[in-house]
């Protein structure tokens, strides 16, 4: 069984630039999560989906961040105008709705200069 795949692995941008992160969850996993992990901290939930529906995006900075999962499989997280404070690793995770275990990808490490 293939794991959660994320791309790119790294991104470096100037403040004000836009960036997108892509996630391919484990096949059959209907629930998908995006986490932000600043350096030396734990993952912090940004948004999660069940199939194509957003279940909770209350922690997503809505003025600059957006996330979609149009067909209930792959997902894209986009930052419209990056700030230095967005520097972090962005982790995607998935699970079956009936299961308890989250499976994480290796993340995208974002640096905003």
């Amino acid at each position: 069984e293939a794991g959660v795949t994320q791309s790119p692995r790294y991104a470096v941008l100037q403040e004000g630039q836009a960036v997108s992160f892509w996630c391919d969850p484990i096949s059959g996993h209907d629930t998908l999560y995006w986490y932000q992990q600043p350096r030396d901290q734990g993952p912090q939930l940004l948004v999660y989906f069940r199939d194509e529906a957003v279940i909770d995006n209350s922690q997503l900075p809505s003025d600059r961040f957006s996330a979609v999962r149009p067909k209930g499989t792959n997902s894209t997280l986009k930052i419209q105008s990056a700030k230095q404070g967005d520097t972090a690793t962005y982790l995607c995770a998935s699970r079956r709705d009936s299961a308890e275990t989250l499976y994480f990808g290796s993340g995208t490490r974002l640096t905003v200069l």
């Binding site: 734990g42 993952p43 939930l45 999660y48 299961a99 308890e100 275990t101 989250l102 290796s106 993340g107």
Partner: protein
């Protein structure tokens, strides 16, 4: 504020020794999970312990849960260099495994 928190920032032990990481949490839970994150990788689940369980084992790992004090511990026996990683506790804050809230993590270094 953190719903789950490990009580040590960093620990180091010599290979073969035992070590314990402690965690406290702030809300009722359905379950508490322990994850390990190695450098450059995403977290990987080690143990899940449900709110009605007091202890769970997985090989060299042992987790305990005390719901009265809202605390948990993860013990690793006979540590190996490959146990070097950051260890997180995570709770679902009684959402029935829907949301997962992670602590800041404890960095463990196993010295050869």
């Amino acid at each position: 504020s953190q719903l789950a928190e490990e009580n040590s920032w960093a620990l180091s032990v010599h290979e073969g020794e035992s070590v314990t990481v402690n965690c406290s949490y702030k809300t009722s839970i359905t379950a508490l999970q322990w994850y390990r994150q190695k450098s450059g990788k995403g977290p990987a689940q080690l143990i899940l312990i449900r709110s009605n369980e007091r202890e769970k084992r997985n090989g060299r790992l042992r987790a305990t849960l005390d719901t009265s004090s809202q605390s948990s511990s993860l013990s690793i026996t006979a540590t190996r260099c490959e146990d070097t990683a950051v260890y997180f506790c995570a709770t679902d804050a009684d959402t029935g495994y829907q949301n997962f809230y992670f602590g800041k993590g404890t960095s463990l270094t196993v010295i050869p």
